[in-house]
Symmetry: C2
Subunit: 123 residues, 2 copies
DNA sequence: TCCATATTTCTACTATTATGGAAATATGGA
DNA sequence: TCCATATTTCCATAATAGTAGAAATATGGA
């Protein structure tokens, strides 16, 4: 990922309405949500929402597909991952013991509830 | 983390010079880097750099400490982690199998080189 | 074809942000 | 105290971004 792409993605997220829409789509998962539903949930007028969604699409963070009369938006998970990797590239020069970020488990709640004793079985 | 804080952090990162400075500090780790060194590395005039560093500090992403004549900046790793968690909260409604993000290993290069056969030793 | 629904484009207005020179401030050493 | 170094504050200018009404476009059904 190039710096310019990352800046575009971050700028897209750096706005209340867009961040809220993004987070809605993070939760929605691959199914995504139609624009109208997003707008209703966030109480944003259609023209404004359309503008913001387009910004997110343009930044490559979400994508749209028409579905009958609605347009359904969903997250581009690969782009999100790339962005995170770009931000944390060479973190602590590869000395994870120095690093408090330890980005494991940022996603999908509490997946491995315990990892103490036995290696946890197939997920 | 509140939405406003996240927007502030993202806005701080959504700028070429600041993003570059941030990434420099990600690599630098807990030691951090003095302002002058950052400015030299990025070829940014002092006044401009000072402005941008202050934005990052204000957003809570980095912190500064005076060290003799220099001011040394370093990453606030906890804030970065919080930001990532906020962005990915309830990702896929807790169904990680749906999610391509799987944010493991965003940090500190390639820590577990292989995880195929034997359970890898204590982290 | 005609209408209702869903979303986007157009447009103008307002507000915020980036830039960098010059001057000011803080530190340490002679 | 005086000077050099390191960084910040002040300021004006230029550029970019957010907002939402009204009109335009696309889809599906009667």
């Amino acid at each position: 990922m190039e710096s310019k792409n990352a800046v575009a993605a971050l700028a897209a997220l750096a706005q209340e309405s867009r961040l809220a829409a993004f987070r809605l789509l993070v939760v929605a998962g691959p199914e995504g949500m139609p624009a109208g539903e997003i707008g209703e949930e966030l109480a944003i007028p259609p023209a404004t929402l359309s503008f913001h969604l387009k910004e997110l699409v343009h930044a490559g963070l979400i994508e749209s597909r028409r579905e009958s009369r609605s347009i359904r938006y969903s997250l581009c998970t690969a782009a999100v991952k790339e962005l995170f990797e770009f931000l944390m590239e060479d973190c602590c020069q590869g000395r994870p013991e120095l690093c408090g970020v330890q980005a494991e488990q940022l996603c999908c709640g509490p997946p491995p509830p315990k990892r103490t004793a036995k290696r946890r079985g197939a997920s």
